[in-house]
Subunit: 386 residues, 4 copies
């Protein structure tokens, strides 16, 4: 069945576009693998770089049918084609997210956007207004909520298996910025991450602390109400934080800590969560994502395992392999797209969307979290409401 | 760039076919994901079931362009098309592997085949002869050799980081056959696995013991020379083994044990390997595949990690994500296809193949291993040469 | 060689006394095992309970030669005997520590005291003055510093293997107070812990947070400079905290978090420490105490193991068994006594003490830490200097 | 209460003697710590070396009241004293176990003996006859059965929580003999272990394989019925095995493997056991002894923990610390003595012994296991009955 199939219905491979992700970028390839993993969609068009040559060669690497030098043109032309893209993936540096997303929303093309949603809270709120007005779908790739074990954890909280939530401990530790790697001219990733012009007001909290906060909120089903933050730039000369520690208070009474770092020597991508309630506890580590530790009060710890002992529908619908065949980061990413593409099909076929992937509201809230963390830290770690 | 592109060269998405893997089969979807993961190929045609209706609906599920009721027809017609498939994936039950493979080899279509290679040693040897004659490519999906950490382990042995190999301990434990699940009419997987007509002379050794043996041989670079085996069918009424224990002697002097089971209560897919040499030891667990434990003599254990501390080119060329973004079973599978597809491109472009994926020779050797294990067990666990 | 041996020198088993630890108490037996483990001392006298009957029966259980109804009498009479005790162990509830310790210090008998040192900062400072004046030995059982791996960690920091200390993450989680167990009339332990009259101004921070703080300070060799604390009593009706979260700033620039809880469902005695520096990281878990994880920059994690790969003299002098023969909590406790008894021998023989066990200064500092945590929490988590 | 107390009853510290364990020996100190740990006994006399000077200095190190140059004299003189020893601990090299044990048995003194019981099967059987005749108590220190988690495991099998036992996997890996360390004149331990004159017919199987076999039999409650063994001396010039692999068949139908090594590079003292039944599985690792993994069919793995979730009386009676305060090797050792000393008290007080520690029958069986392993290996790994 041809990818250019122009049947009115959704019974075909969906067509995707990409903005950003040209040669040298890591996250572009991840989005492509993720969106295509289940064979439900194919990326056919892209504006992968603002440099025309890179835009072309990157598109050729991926065997794309069409490429563009700029996303505005892409949005207009794709919207006009009968076999144009159904959705677009935005994977540029942070400062372009909102601009690119708006172009496609206004062209009536569904958007899946990398986090953080925008450059500032204001821009995020404005984008949210545009998205609401556009009436098309908008998703945000808070990847880590895509893991089956994380979805099970959320369901267990919803089912009151933990009781009253008392304590949450979340962390996200890396070490890739522990030295001044941004001084290497080749280190594009590091350069824009530590550059306030591209990354915004925060490096570490913006890039990974926001994932940690989102994970807490997703699993507990309650937002972080207020924070008391201490942000630091440990590497001399750095303008943005590369480390942060926070006290948390959740809506509804739980308390805890959030700690994140890009200078934690020896850590790769250690996102970990513990939740303690009055009836049970949970523990999950992203680096061994197929295990969810459940600690029911007065009983032995249970090691729940993807495909084997996760019980929820929410976990089952994002699981592909039998027990003991480990799934990883790419599958978690693909899970968000699986849910998003199902909504795209529903949209095409005129049925209401179901969701299940992070929404623009979470994106706006995430921007607020970043802004409030910086604010608290600047105010000598005073409590600040999110 | 269209999948029907008929350019003479390989600068396009390659076209794949599939035999077997219809609705209800697990491994078909795995092969599809694996072969398409890197965006280098697309499955376009299939003979996914011997039942015409299932063949059609399975193909439609996958948006295939063409489907067939039988693999003979498929081989001939695809070979005749200008935009026919470049390669085929054989994912039927064991007793059809050789027959299907031969059809495509004779049609000049490259083959990637599920293991075990064939139904008997004789059939395997005959298939190997056909493959040699055909001059096209033949690969075997001994999946577990696709993991970066396993490739690193092999390289470390080659680089003499372990010294003289003294002891190997390999195991593969599952529990999915611990009860008589084959009595459930829906349990197609279980039924053919325990049926001598479909599975051959062994269930447990054939299905998973052979993976364990292959893993030892791949990592140590030396074949199992002789075995002393004790096979058992623990579940009453079962005709084939569901458990086995073996003593091993390697070519070149190392010794060890291989133990496998499908009735090991609580085990999912626990394939684990330890190798001990005169200078160092190695340990790897498939269920946490991104860690390779290295035990250099007189020094602390080192936890080598995918993308971070694996040093070999062999590991690097099959790695997709940065450190701490776990890769799993599907990626390992995709790695074999990555190497196979690179050879398909080389073939198209007239350059010699490079290999790196399991070959038909390993397939024949694997069949011998299974036969010898049964023979030893029947001879009161006498030593038998492989 | 008889325990009543009155040779002037130290070439004999030393004689110990105990205050507190009567039937039903847990920690008394631990002290007895710990002090006697190396065969260097024997407990011969005790004032194990303020109830005469319990004092007698408890002493009989232990085959003590002498028992007393009150510690004042014990101090005086033991000091007067030729074969009197060389040292005393204070294991009462918190509010009696200082009173009992003073009685023995003034009688010229060496003291090993349970933590926290005293009931208030003032009382602690006063006791420190008495101790200084007495010129006899004073030790404090911050048990967890007794583990070989912890001593190695400290030495590694001293040897600059971690570089500049940037981040510390310490936690101490338990769940034994997650319900209102103090309402059970039999639960003596729980009752005094949550009673401000016996425990002081804090339950959780006083009991276990103080261990966590001491561990950070012991390993990093630098004191906690200031804290920003959020203490909570989660169980309704409780007057003292059963949970706390804190931001930390160390003297010399490191930052971090300390979190402790007695309501963390499923946790037993999870004291864990991570330290991240500019050159390396360290990780240690009390529940698996024989492993120290070292994370040198740019290299694989190393699992250092007691007796095998700990390199320091500090670790070696507190190790008893060969590699892989796990040592635990009782041995860690015994290690503090091993060092303390060596000083007692030195004292008897007229040579200067060497130390190595927690001193009264750490005890006073620990009391300040508890007081400042409460103060910060009461001031809406403001930064407070320790 | 004085250790020389000559009350007729048992209400006093019991008096122990030791044969062997002089300066430089590791295991002597372990026995002393173990027997004294609970304050129920004290070692007062010893024949710690066949060299008079070492016998004296070793005894002085331990503050013993009496020492002897030879165990015969010791047995006679201690039996004659009113305040003589109640029991003796035999910790010599293997070839002296039986001789020393007989001397004390004939003197009516209870014996706790290191394993293996004797030098040959014949000597073991003869010793068993002497022990039976003597009517005094005899225990054997198969240490690893002293762990609470191991006792829980045994009880779970007895309670049919595992169902029919199908598969056992036991291993004991070390690396201390991976080089020819016996060539170092200081390496007394290594020298006698590899010397057939002192160690007997086997090094690795005799020293540690026998522990592994005992552990399987203790936990499953069934003996090893037959074995198929492959013993190797990997280090050139060594006369006895330093490695072994075996197939096992248990009485009652279970099968499995036993593998042990003293040349497994990087292993410390890795004794591990897995048992798989028709209803559940168990897993235990001596190096992390406070966790017992339970794998009930169709449910998540449960991590049972010492003091917290071990349910049996058998575990509880050998547990000293609350949850999360790890117990280790010395405590496991002390547990055997705790049970043995309780029997000594019963004996003194005229009540029947209860047991619970390894008996002389297990000792004889263990000797047979060693002999049969060597026999099978010499017969080209034929099945041999134990």
């Amino acid at each position: 069945m041809d990818i250019t199939n122009t049947n009115p219905g959704s019974n075909r491979r969906l067509r995707g576009g990409i903005v950003g992700g040209g040669r040298g970028a890591f996250i572009g390839a991840v989005h492509r693998i993720a969106v295509e993993l289940d064979g439900q969609a194919q990326v056919v068009a892209g504006a992968m770089s603002s440099t025309a040559e890179t835009a072309r060669t990157s598109a050729e690497d991926w065997f794309l049918s069409r490429w563009y030098d700029d996303f505005e043109t892409m949005a207009q032309q794709e919207a006009a084609r009968e076999d144009g893209i159904d959705f677009v993936m935005i994977v540029t540096p942070n400062h372009l997210h909102a601009k690119a997303a708006k172009a496609f929303l206004r062209a009536g093309i569904h958007v899946m956007c990398e986090k953080p949603l925008a450059f500032t809270v204001e821009e995020a709120e404005e984008l949210a207004a545009v998205a609401r007005e556009s009436r098309v779908l908008f998703g945000l790739t808070h990847t880590y909520t895509g893991y089956p074990a994380v979805r099970e954890a959320r369901q267990m909280v919803l089912d009151d298996e933990l009781g009253e939530i008392r304590k949450v401990l979340v962390e996200y530790q890396q070490d890739w910025l522990m030295d001044a790697v941004e001084e290497d001219p080749e280190a594009k990733q590091a350069q824009w991450r530590v550059d306030p012009e591209c990354a915004g007001i925060s490096c570490c909290v913006g890039d990974i602390g926001s994932h940690a906060a989102n994970l807490v909120e997703f699993v507990t089903g309650r937002n972080i109400a207020s924070i008391c933050a201490d942000l630091t730039a440990f590497v001399p000369g750095r303008l943005l934080d590369d480390d942060a520690n926070m006290l948390l208070r959740l809506q509804g009474g739980g308390k805890g800590t959030l700690t994140c770092s890009q200078v934690a020597c020896g850590e790769e991508n250690n996102l970990s969560l513990r939740v303690y309630g009055s009836k049970g506890g949970l523990e999950w580590h992203q680096q061994e994502p197929n295990t969810l530790i459940f600690k029911p009060a007065g009983q032995p710890w249970q090691y729940l395992r993807t495909s084997v002992s996760l019980k929820s529908v929410a976990a089952a619908e994002v699981t592909r392999t039998p027990g003991g065949h480990p799934e990883g980061y790419l599958e978690a990413f693909a899970n968000l797209y699986r849910l998003f593409l199902a909504d795209v099909r529903r949209f095409i076929d005129g049925t209401p969307p179901v969701g299940g992937y992070p929404s623009i509201d979470e994106g706006v809230h995430g921007m607020r979290f970043i802004a409030r963390a910086v604010e608290s830290s600047n105010a000598n770690s005073s409590w600040v409401e999110v």
